[in-house]
C-alpha cells in the first residue's frame, strides 16, 4: 500500500492521471501528468489552459466597466517550469 509521507508523494500518486495546476500570472491548467522533478517542473499532455483576461482596462484610469473574461487554450504536450507553480491538485478519488 502506497502512503503519503512527504508532499511529492502526492504528485507521484497522480502520475498518468489528470491533475489541476494553478500557476502564477492568473493561469490554470488541467492535463495528464507524465513527469515532474524536485523543482516541480512538470510535463503534461492533453493540456487545457485557462487564462483570466480583464476587459475594459484600456481606459486610464480604468472605469467600473472592467470585467473578467476566461479564455481557454489546448496544448498537446507541455513542459511547465516549476517556479510558476502555485499548487498541484490530484484528481478526486471517491
Amino acid at each position: 500500500m502506497e502512503t503519503i509521507q512527504e508532499p511529492f508523494d502526492l504528485i507521484r500518486l497522480s502520475l498518468s492521471e489528470r491533475v489541476f495546476v494553478k500557476l502564477r500570472g492568473d493561469r490554470e491548467l488541467t492535463g495528464i501528468l507524465h513527469a515532474y522533478d524536485g523543482h516541480m517542473n512538470l510535463i503534461m499532455s492533453d493540456v487545457v489552459e485557462t487564462i483570466m483576461l480583464v476587459e475594459g482596462v484600456d481606459a486610464v484610469p480604468p472605469g467600473p466597466g472592467a470585467t473578467v473574461k476566461v479564455a481557454t487554450r489546448k496544448m498537446d504536450m507541455l513542459f511547465v517550469r516549476g517556479d510558476g507553480v502555485i499548487l498541484v491538485s490530484p484528481p478526486s478519488r471517491t
Binding site: R12, L15, I32, H34, D76, F79, R81
Partner: protein, 99 residues
C-alpha cells in the same frame, strides 16, 4: 536531471517556448543545459508586430529562468518512459533513449 534528459532527446525538433513576459518563440531546439537554458535556431515570433525588436533575430539563447512553458512535439515524447523514470526518481541515464 530527468527533465534535462527529456529536452536533450528533443534536440533538432521544433518547439514553442513561451516566456513569462508573454513572448512566444517557435524554433528548432539546438541545445539545452542543466539550468534548462535553451538555444533555438530558425526562430519565429508569435505576433511579431508587438515585438519589433525580434524581427532581425534568427537564432537565440533563452535563459531558463524566464521560461513559462515549452510546447513539445508529442510524437517524440514517450509518456510511459517518462512516468517510469519519474517513479524511479532518478534520471533514466542507463536507458537507450538518452542517446
Amino acid at each position: 536531471m530527468l527533465i534535462f534528459s527529456v529536452f536533450k532527446t528533443l534536440t533538432d525538433q521544433q518547439v514553442t517556448v513561451e516566456l513569462k513576459n508573454d513572448l512566444s518563440i517557435t524554433g528548432v531546439l539546438k541545445s539545452v543545459d542543466q539550468f534548462l537554458n535553451i538555444r533555438l535556431d530558425s526562430i519565429k515570433v508569435l505576433d511579431e508586430a508587438r515585438h519589433p525588436h525580434m524581427m532581425a533575430v534568427k537564432n537565440c539563447f533563452i535563459r531558463g529562468s524566464v521560461v513559462r512553458y515549452v510546447q513539445l512535439p508529442s510524437e517524440h515524447v514517450d509518456t510511459q518512459l517518462l512516468e517510469d523514470a519519474t517513479r524511479r526518481g532518478s534520471s533514466p541515464r542507463s536507458h537507450p533513449f538518452i542517446g
